[in-house]
C-alpha cells in the first residue's frame, strides 16, 4: 500500500530525512521508533504533505499513485490520515461542523453523495461511544481548551470518522496517562482491519504494549537503521537508543 524509496527531505538548510526506505502492506501495523530529532515527525508530516519540507530525492507510492504529487487535501481524500502530535486549536469552528465538512469534502472528492444529517449524527454517536467521549465536546471549538488527553482522543475520533486507508499516528502516546493511553489504543485497535495500514510513530515502547505492531523500525539520523519484529522494541527498551548510535554509524558506513 505504501512504498517509500530513498526519501530525502530538508527543512531550510538542514537535511532531516536522508534516504528512507519503507514498505507497508495493507492490514499491517508498523512502528517507527527513534530518539528525539531522528526525523520521525518529519516523516509523518512529509506523508501528510506539509509544505515546510522540501523533498530533494526519492519517491513515495501510495496505492499505486505518486503520493508526493498530491495536494494535502487530496491525500486525505485518498485515505491518508495523520494523527498530530500537537493537534491544532481552531477557535470559532465547532468539532461537529469541522467533522461534517471534512467528511463531505472527502465524499465530494470521491463523487459520493453528501452525508445526511441523520447518518452523520448516528455515526458520530457510535464513534464517540467507542472512544468514551462526551458528545458535548462536539459543540466546542476544535481542540480549543482541550486537555492533552482530550486532544489525542479527538484525533482518534477523527480517524474513526474519516476511516482512512493509511493512518499515521505521530507520538499519539505523548502526554497521555495510562488510562487515556488504554482508551486511545483500544480506539486504534478497533480500527485495525485487513484493508487498513497503520504507522505508529513513537519514542517509547509503552504504546506498543497496547498497539502490537507487526514490524518495528528504528529511525536515527534520518535513516532507518534497524528493522525487526516487536521484540526489537523490547530490546530498545532494555538497552536504550544509545547503543544504536554506533549501529547507525555502522549502517551508514556500510
Amino acid at each position: 500500500m505504501l512504498e517509500i524509496k530513498n526519501l530525502h527531505a530538508r527543512s531550510e538548510d538542514t537535511e532531516i530525512l536522508r534516504g528512507i526506505n519503507l514498505s507497508v502492506a495493507a492490514g499491517e501495523v508498523h512502528a517507527i521508533m527513534g530518539p528525539n530529532g531522528s526525523g520521525k515527525s518529519t516523516l509523518a508530516h512529509v506523508l501528510a504533505g506539509r509544505e515546510d519540507y522540501e523533498i530533494t530525492e526519492g519517491e513515495v507510492t501510495y496505492d499505486g499513485k505518486d503520493l508526493l504529487d498530491m495536494e494535502i487535501e487530496e491525500r486525505a481524500a485518498e485515505g491518508v490520515f495523520l494523527a498530530y502530535q500537537y493537534p491544532v486549536e481552531i477557535s470559532g469552528v465547532s468539532n461537529k461542523y469541522f467533522l461534517k465538512a471534512a467528511i463531505n469534502s472527502i465524499h465530494k472528492y470521491r463523487d459520493e453523495p453528501v452525508i445526511s444529517r441523520k447518518d452523520f449524527v448516528a455515526l458520530l454517536k457510535e464513534k464517540l461511544e467507542l472512544l468514551g467521549m462526551d458528545k458535548s465536546m462536539m459543540d466546542r471549538s476544535v481542540n480549543e481548551g482541550f486537555s492533552g488527553g482530550e486532544k489525542k482522543r479527538n484525533e482518534i475520533l477523527q480517524m474513526a470518522m474519516l476511516e482512512p486507508k493509511l493512518a499515521v499516528l505521530d507520538e499519539t502516546d505523548s502526554g497521555l496517562d495510562i488510562d487515556a493511553l488504554k482508551i486511545v489504543s483500544e480506539g486504534v485497535n478497533a480500527l485495525r482491519s485487513p484493508e487498513r495500514a497503520i504507522i505508529v510513530v513513537t519514542h517509547y515502547q509503552r504504546l506498543l504494549e497496547y498497539i502490537v505492531p507487526d514490524k518495528v523500525h528504528v529511525l536515527a539520523g534520518g535513516k532507518i537503521v534497524r528493522s525487526g519484529d516487536k521484540s526489537l522494541a523490547l530490546e530498545l527498551e532494555d538497552k536504550g537508543y544509545s547503543f544504536l548510535q554506533s549501529g547507525a554509524e555502522t549502517v551508514a558506513a556500510g
Binding site: A76, V88, E89, V93, K100
Partner: protein, 440 residues
C-alpha cells in the same frame, strides 16, 4: 468654511423648529437651541481632527438631508424591512420609521411592574424625569458635532426605564428603518436607565431601503445603577449608500455589569462610538465587536473606557474582516484615572485583510495614571493561521473551503459571545451566507 458645512442643516433645523417648538416644553427647546448653536460654531469634523483622521465624513455628512416630519408610510417597504429586521416574535418591539415611532408595528405589552418601555416623544409628552434629565445634561464626557446635531433635532427614540430590582425577562428590540425617498436624515435618541439590581437585554437594529442615501445619527444614553445588568446588542444593516453615525454613552455605578455586542455590516460609512464611564467599584464591562466591510465601505469603530474607580474589569474584543477596497478603522482607548487602582483592562483588536486594496487603521491606546493596574492591549493584523489551514486540509477539506471556514471561525468567535439565541442564529446565518459556506 465651517459655516458652509453646517449650512446643509440650516433649512431643516428651521423647519424642525417651526414644527416642534410650539408643542415642546421650554427645557427641550432650550437644550435644542444650545446644542444647535454649539454645532454651528464647531461645524462638522474634518480629517485634521485627530478623532477623524482616517474617516473623511464631511462630504457625506454635509449633504442636504431633509428631515421627515410626517410619514407617508410606504407599507410594502416597511413590511419588507420589518420582516428582515425581526428576530423573535417574543421580543418586546419598538419600531421607528425615519426617526418616528410607529405604534402599529410595535408591541410591548405585558411588561413587568416598574418597567417603562415607550418612545421618547411620549416620555416628553408625559413629562417623565428621565427624558428631561438626560436631554439636558452633557452627552457623555464631551459633546461632539454629531451628538449636538442629535440633541438639536431630538424628538423621538426609545426609552427603557427599569425600576430597582426588576428583571425585564424578554429582550427589547428597537428597530430603526429608513424608508423615505431622497436624502433624509433622522436623529434617534435612546435613553436606557436600569435601577439598582435590575437587568435587561436590548437589541438595536438598523435597516433602510435603497434610494438616494440617507443619514442616521443615533445617540443612546445608558445609566446603570448599582448591580444593574445590561446586555446591549447592535445590528447595523443600513443600506450601502447611507451614512450611519452613532454613539452610546454608558455611565456605570458600583457592581454593575454592561455587555455590548456590536455587529456592523451596512452603510457606506459607519462610525460607532462607545464611551463607558466606570464610576464605581467592582464594575465589569465587556465590549465585543465585529465589522465586515466590503466594496467601498468604511467602518470606523471607536471605544473609550474611563476607569474612574478602583477594582473594575473590562474586556474588549474587536474583530474586522475587510474585503475589496474597504477601509476599517479601530480606535480603542483605555483611560485609567489616578484613583483607579487594581484596574484590570484587556483589549484585543484583530483584523483580517482579504484584499490588497483594503486598508485597516488601528490605534489602540492606553493612558494610565495609576500604578497598580493590569492593562494589556493587543492588535494583530494578518493572514489566516497557516497551521490551522494545513490541519483542515489534511482532513480532506479543500483549501478554498478551509479558508472560508477559518474566516467564519474568526468572526464566529465574536458571535459566540452573544447570549440571545435568536441573535446568534441571525448572525450565524449571515456569516455562513456571506462566505458561501455550507450550513451546519
Amino acid at each position: 468654511m465651517i459655516a458652509t458645512q453646517s449650512d446643509a442643516y440650516q433649512e431643516s433645523f428651521a423647519a424642525f423648529q417651526a414644527d416642534q417648538s410650539a408643542t415642546s416644553p421650554a427645557w427641550l427647546n432650550e437644550a435644542r437651541q444650545t446644542a444647535w448653536d454649539r454645532f454651528l460654531e464647531r461645524g462638522l469634523p474634518t480629517r485634521r481632527d485627530e478623532d477623524w483622521r482616517f474617516t473623511p465624513v464631511a462630504s457625506l455628512a454635509g449633504r442636504n438631508y431633509r428631515n421627515v416630519q410626517s410619514l407617508s408610510l410606504a407599507s410594502d417597504t416597511v413590511e419588507t424591512l420589518l420582516q428582515r429586521a425581526k428576530l423573535d416574535d417574543d421580543f418586546h418591539r419598538l419600531v421607528f420609521v425615519n426617526g418616528h415611532y410607529v405604534e402599529g408595528a410595535s408591541s410591548h405589552q405585558d411588561l413587568p411592574e416598574g418597567v417603562v418601555v415607550e418612545n421618547l416623544a411620549s416620555s416628553i409628552r408625559e413629562g417623565r424625569d428621565l427624558a428631561e434629565q438626560l436631554l439636558t445634561q452633557p452627552v457623555g464626557k464631551e459633546e461632539s458635532a454629531f451628538t449636538d446635531l442629535n440633541t438639536a433635532f431630538a424628538s423621538d427614540g426609545a426609552v427603557i426605564d427599569v425600576a430597582d430590582g426588576v428583571t425585564l425577562d424578554r429582550p427589547v428590540h428597537l428597530i430603526f428603518l429608513s424608508v423615505e425617498d431622497g436624502p433624509t436624515a433622522c436623529h434617534p435618541r435612546n435613553l436606557i436607565r436600569l435601577g439598582n439590581g435590575s437587568s435587561a437585554t436590548v437589541v438595536e437594529s438598523y435597516h433602510g431601503r435603497d434610494g438616494d442615501g440617507y443619514f442616521t445619527n443615533a445617540v443612546t444614553q445608558i445609566e446603570l445603577a448599582e448591580q444593574a445588568n445590561l446586555d446591549h446588542h447592535k445590528l447595523q444593516h443600513e443600506q450601502r449608500d447611507s451614512l450611519h453615525i452613532a454613539s452610546s454613552h454608558i455611565d456605570q455605578k458600583e457592581h454593575s455589569r454592561f455587555c455590548s455586542h456590536y455587529f456592523s455590516f451596512g452603510a457606506e460609512l459607519a462610525r460607532n462610538e462607545l464611551n463607558c464611564i466606570l464610576d464605581g467599584e467592582e464594575i465589569v464591562s465587556t465590549l465585543n465587536g465585529l465589522y465586515m466591510p466590503t466594496g467601498e465601505q468604511l467602518m470606523d469603530c471607536r471605544t473609550r473606557i474611563d476607569h474612574a474607580k478602583p477594582n473594575c474589569n473590562t474586556y474588549e474584543l474587536y474583530k474586522g474582516i475587510l474585503d475589496d477596497r474597504a477601509r476599517g478603522v479601530f480606535n480603542g482607548k483605555i483611560f485609567v484615572h489616578q484613583d483607579a487602582q487594581k484596574t484590570d483592562a484587556k483589549q484585543s483588536n484583530q483584523a483580517l485583510l482579504l484584499s490588497d486594496d483594503a486598508v485597516v487603521n488601528t490605534k489602540p491606546q492606553l493612558e494610565i495614571y495609576a500604578d497598580d493596574v493590569k492593562c494589556t492591549h493587543g492588535a494583530t493584523i494578518g493572514e489566516l493561521d497557516e497551521q490551522a489551514l494545513y490541519y483542515l486540509r489534511s482532513r480532506g477539506i479543500p483549501e478554498s473551503l478551509a479558508r472560508k471556514m477559518l474566516i467564519f471561525a474568526f468572526a464566529n468567535d465574536v458571535v459566540q459571545g452573544v447570549e440571545v439565541p435568536a441573535v446568534v442564529q441571525h448572525l450565524e446565518a449571515i456569516l455562513l451566507s456571506s462566505h458561501g459556506l455550507p450550513d451546519v
